[in-house]
């Protein structure tokens, strides 16, 4: 039993064997093993993170926060407000342009991670969750465009219905049904995006930020291999423990 146990049979508390079978204890201990506090909220990052290409993941999250905040305000005030008032126009524009920024930064983040082969070192689930976020975000944006309640949304939905019907999902995903599209846009798809972004961040914290691809031995010498936590291993097969940078690799001033 770990030191997280609080059993005290003498005082009438549960025995260790009872605690071991408790799902809350197992979940807690598993979470602490996977995300110890110093890994969940680190005070330094590996030195290779000091590059602009590592900024775009955080920038995407920043844009997502603005998207959700402006979207909540638009949803609370309603279509008449966002169409007919100056402040409503402003928040409508903030919502649109934050979505543009969200996709802009997400695509640059995706390119950076793709050319870095970011699925290395046991990070396959991090890569897959990111890809799922990208795909679901496209659906979220699409349902937003058809929920605008204007001629633009009418045009997009009447064009889009043919695509949905051609793949056989038009009966379940009716893009001309405002209520259905609005529910997808403000509840189901954003909830999926937020949950997956949370899982994505936890996976990044668990496995560490992916290091750059190692340089050839003639180019980078021993340091290039030392930076890459999976040096010598097969791509994608490294264990999480092998991928975390050692303290000497962190950017903390020595």
């Amino acid at each position: 039993m770990s030191d997280l146990s609080t059993s005290n049979p003498a005082a009438g508390g549960p025995a260790d064997s009872e605690l071991a079978s408790s799902w809350t204890v197992r979940l807690r201990e598993s979470a602490v093993r996977s995300w110890p506090p110093e890994r969940l909220l680190p005070d330094s990052q590996p030195s290779y993170v000091a590059s602009w290409i590592y900024v775009f993941g955080a920038a995407t999250i920043g844009a997502l926060i603005v998207v959700i905040t402006s979207g909540v305000i638009l949803g609370l005030k309603g279509p008449a407000w966002w169409h007919d008032t100056g402040v409503g126009h402003f928040f409508n524009s903030v919502h649109l342009w934050s979505v543009e920024l969200f996709f802009f930064t997400m695509v640059v983040h995706l390119w950076g991670k793709f050319f870095m082969a970011a699925w290395r070192g046991g990070r396959a689930r991090t890569w897959i969750s990111g890809a799922l976020i990208f795909l679901i975000a496209i659906g979220t944006a699409f349902t937003g465009y058809v929920s605008q309640q204007n001629f633009d949304s009418q045009w997009i939905s009447t064009q889009g219905k043919d695509a949905m019907n051609s793949v056989g999902i038009g009966a379940f995903f009716n893009v001309t049904n405002f209520g259905q599209m609005y529910t997808y846009h403000v509840l189901l798809l954003p909830a999926a995006v937020v949950v997956l972004v949370g899982a994505h961040i936890l996976l990044v914290r668990r496995h560490g930020v992916v290091p750059p691809l190692p340089l050839g031995k003639s180019d980078g010498g021993p340091e290039s291999a030392a930076v890459d936590g999976e040096a010598g291993g097969a791509p994608g097969l490294g264990r999480p423990e092998q991928t975390m940078p050692s303290p000497t690799q962190t950017g903390r001033p020595q």
Partner: protein, 66 residues
């Protein structure tokens, strides 16, 4: 296609979008501009030095020697 025409299509949204059509390729000027902007930002993110990166690398190598 002049620069004025491209910038007008990008920044004035109060008109139908202008499209570049070439064989199978069909894309609005706004979308092409956005993709080019993303490529430029991607290249700059790789090339431009990150503030403080050299100082931290020097401190690290000094710590390793010392």
């Amino acid at each position: 296609m002049g620069v004025g025409l491209i910038s007008g299509a990008v920044f004035s949204l109060n008109q139908p979008a202008r499209y570049v059509h070439w064989h199978f390729f069909d894309m609005s000027v706004a979308n092409i501009s956005l993709i080019i902007a993303m490529l430029i930002v991607f290249a700059l993110a790789i090339v431009l030095p990150f503030p403080g990166a050299r100082r931290r690398a020097a401190q690290r190598s000094a710590g390793r020697r010392g």
